[in-house]
């Protein structure tokens, strides 16, 4: 039901009569404009009211109200950062959980690293063998401690025959006595570990100007892996033959060993 123009005119006229201003045309026009608000269309029912009236709801979800749809879009845009943040956190959680579940970080670390370095052997450069120690540098201290003063090797006499000439033939090699001054338990252990080999080497190989062979270190890549070499050389203080690792490395470099 909407009120007709005649009805509005009657209402306004009655009101103006009650107020004692029946003849004011300008006022009447203004009041009729105000009375026109009664002719507004009924809003589309929504929600509970729509259910009560038995008509389809004009809710925003139903898409019948474009203005309401725009409001819903704004609400969705407002929540978008929260949704994205949740998705990223969920993806990160799934990734971390997947790695943990695969056991990739739970492998036996010592074994893993042992396998990794087991086959490692230091490279030697292509310098003439006569000028280079045959074995890896970390092994050198072990071997240099082998010659015991109490049992001079047989070859020492023979070496003595060559006497003064021999030291000059190996200018880059440090004298064995360099490590003798401070014998270490590790060095002794290493010496005991291969006395026969060292003795055989000393016996079977006449001095040829290379103390590398004389020290008993086998030529070519060492059979001793990197890990063992350090376990046998480092003492409780972390020194090698009383020297720091840096000193030893400098010495190795001077010997021409490429690390």
């Amino acid at each position: 039901m909407t009120r007709s123009d005649a009805d509005r005119d009657n209402l306004v006229s009655e009101l103006m009569l009650d107020a004692g201003v029946p003849g004011d045309a300008l006022l009447k026009a203004a009041l009729e404009s105000i009375a026109g608000l009664s002719a507004l269309p009924a809003p589309a029912p929504r929600g509970d009211l729509a259910a009560l009236l038995g008509v389809p709801s004009a809710d925003p979800d139903g898409g019948t109200d474009p203005g309401a749809d725009e409001l819903a879009k704004r609400r969705r845009r407002k929540h978008r950062p929260v949704v994205i943040a949740g998705a990223v956190l969920t993806a990160m959680g799934l990734g971390i959980g997947g790695v943990a579940a695969s056991g990739g970080l739970q492998q036996d670390s010592p074994d893993f690293f042992n396998k990794l370095i087991a086959g490692w052997a230091p490279h030697t450069n292509l310098a003439p063998q006569s000028l280079l120690p045959a074995g890896p540098a970390p092994d050198a201290p072990k071997v240099t401690a082998v010659p015991a003063p109490s049992s001079p090797p047989v070859s020492e006499a023979a070496a003595g025959a060559q006497g003064a000439a021999s030291p000059s033939a190996v200018p880059n090699h440090p004298p064995a006595s360099a490590f003798k001054g401070k014998p270490l338990a590790a060095a002794k252990k290493a010496a005991k570990a291969r006395p026969k080999k060292a003795a055989n080497t000393l016996k079977g190989t006449p001095p040829s100007g290379s103390t590398g062979s004389a020290s008993g270190v086998p030529a070519g890549p060492s059979g001793v892996n990197f890990k063992d070499s350090f376990e046998g050389v480092l003492d409780e203080r972390g020194l090698v033959g009383g020297r720091t690792v840096e000193d030893v490395l400098d010495q190795i470099v001077r010997l021409g060993v490429r690390l």
Partner: protein, 184 residues
């Protein structure tokens, strides 16, 4: 004023709630919406729906035919309007500034609705009036109520209502904006 919803039609629809509710809603919803818009409530459309959610289930208990129903409908609307105004006074709306919603080239949703349902100047005319004068005028010429009905709803005497409507009309007459509004 001729009401399409007559006492006879109202009586005939008794027992058929779906049709009765629909007829009552169509008869009064537009006027309630206009009244609430004129009174400056925050969401006239939503409040109109609230009014009928309160009215329709109690139709059977209303006496006095269409006249009694009209009085009851606008009594509820008046009460909801008062509640809305009190709510606005207690907790004025504060919203954070959102740049994406700052579309200065278009009207706000409320202003757009007001322009769609009625010229802004009409509401501006009512804005010149004090609250009670505005209420009397709205109930008289928008809701279509008599002085007696308005007095009942506002809890005032009929003499007080007549005094308020007289003052309201004098205020409008004296205001230059009225002349500018009605001038061609």
């Amino acid at each position: 004023m001729t009401d399409a919803l007559t006492d006879e039609a109202l009586q005939a629809l008794q027992g058929n709630d779906a049709e009765l509710f629909s007829a009552v809603y169509q008869a009064f919803a537009g006027q309630v919406f206009g009244y609430l818009s004129a009174k400056g409530v925050q969401d006239p459309e939503a409040l109109t729906q609230d009014v009928f959610l309160a009215v329709l289930p109690r139709i059977d208990a209303i006496s006095g035919g269409v006249k009694g129903l009209r009085t009851f409908v606008f009594s509820v609307a008046h009460a909801r309007m008062v509640d809305d105004h009190r709510r606005q006074v207690r907790s004025p709306e504060h919203q954070e500034f959102e740049a994406e919603r700052d579309t200065r080239e278009v009207l706000s949703a409320e202003a757009e609705a007001m322009d769609r349902v009625a010229p802004g100047e009409v509401l501006a005319l009512l804005g010149f009036l004090p609250e009670e004068q505005r209420e009397v005028l709205s109930l008289r010429i928008i809701a279509g109520l008599t002085v007696e009905q308005v007095a009942e709803i506002m809890g005032k005497s009929q003499g007080a209502v007549k005094q308020l409507q007289r003052r309201a009309l004098n205020t409008l007459r004296e205001h230059s904006a009225v002349k500018e509004y009605v001038a061609p």
